[in-house]
Symmetry: C2
Subunit: 137 residues, 2 copies
DNA sequence: GTGTTAAATGATAATGATTACGATCTAGGA
DNA sequence: TCCTAGATCGTAATCATTATCATTTAACAC
């Protein structure tokens, strides 16, 4: 996923094309494969839009996540955002706790787990590996 | 882990035996294998200690987690606590989103993942499966 | 291009979880 | 019993998230 495609998806969902959304998507493009917090995006956003409402950044990030453009995780009780992966296969991520950079993990144990939990209805799951990426350690 | 053993561990770490801590551990005993929020524990706690400080419950839960008596997770941005499992084997949990009840998952993919991530330093990982337990669905 | 309108933004405040702090109380040892 | 470090209480600060409403603007019809 990238900002150009994201603007199309926004339009498909009936959302307007605003300067603010374009800027936000550009920022997300610059953090490719990296989880970024609302606060950091708002700070970078504010350089172009001084006095921008925090809520505008916050609300748009949640909108983008809602329609599948972004994916999210929570680190230290703070929500983080990044473009949704393009690959069609189900996978998970290694997340660098220093820079937020992610690496794909093409291995998911949830199918095997389901077999070992008879009577349980599995709705979703979370598998994340944390550490330092090659550049950070 | 249970309240009796927990009181011993507290003493081993130089913490005092207080009525409040005893009550808190009793409450945790009553929620065996179930994740409970600070708020819920504080409400139950307040029945015996009207006007109890929220901070007392909160601080003690974090103390107990620090010294390995409790384990924690975060659901909807709210921290949840339960007694640490007695089993010595590394494992993960299915968590019922209706009642908090957990079931052990004796399967961890992190070793295999490490092999597929050369150059990455792996510090920790999270694997949780969510859904409805047999009693709730 | 002009006007219309629903959506988006800005400004600000409310909420809820977490954390901090000083005064008071108390467990546990001398 | 007395002393004191640690624990609790009462209260407030902090931080992320969410809500509200007046103002602005993108998209569309004319
Ligand atoms: Mn990916
Ligand atoms: Mn367990
Ligand atoms: Zn998976
Ligand atoms: Zn594991």
């Amino acid at each position: 996923m990238n900002s150009t495609r994201a603007l199309e998806v926004l339009k498909e969902h009936g959302y307007k094309h605003t300067k603010q959304r374009e800027k936000l998507l550009t920022l997300l493009d610059q953090h490719d494969d990296i989880y970024v917090s609302v606060k950091q995006l708002w700070e970078e956003f504010s350089e172009d839009f001084p006095g921008a409402s925090y809520d505008t950044v916050y609300r748009n990030l949640y909108t983008l996540a809602d329609i599948g453009i972004l994916e999210t995780t929570s680190l230290d009780g703070e929500k983080q955002f990044r473009f949704h992966c393009d690959t069609s296969d189900h996978h998970h991520h290694f997340i660098c706790t220093a820079c937020g950079k992610t690496s794909a993990i093409h291995l998911c144990p949830v199918e095997d787990v389901a077999l070992s939990l008879p009577g349980h209805q599995i709705d979703n799951h979370k598998f994340e590996v944390y550490g330092k990426c090659p550049a950070c350690h």
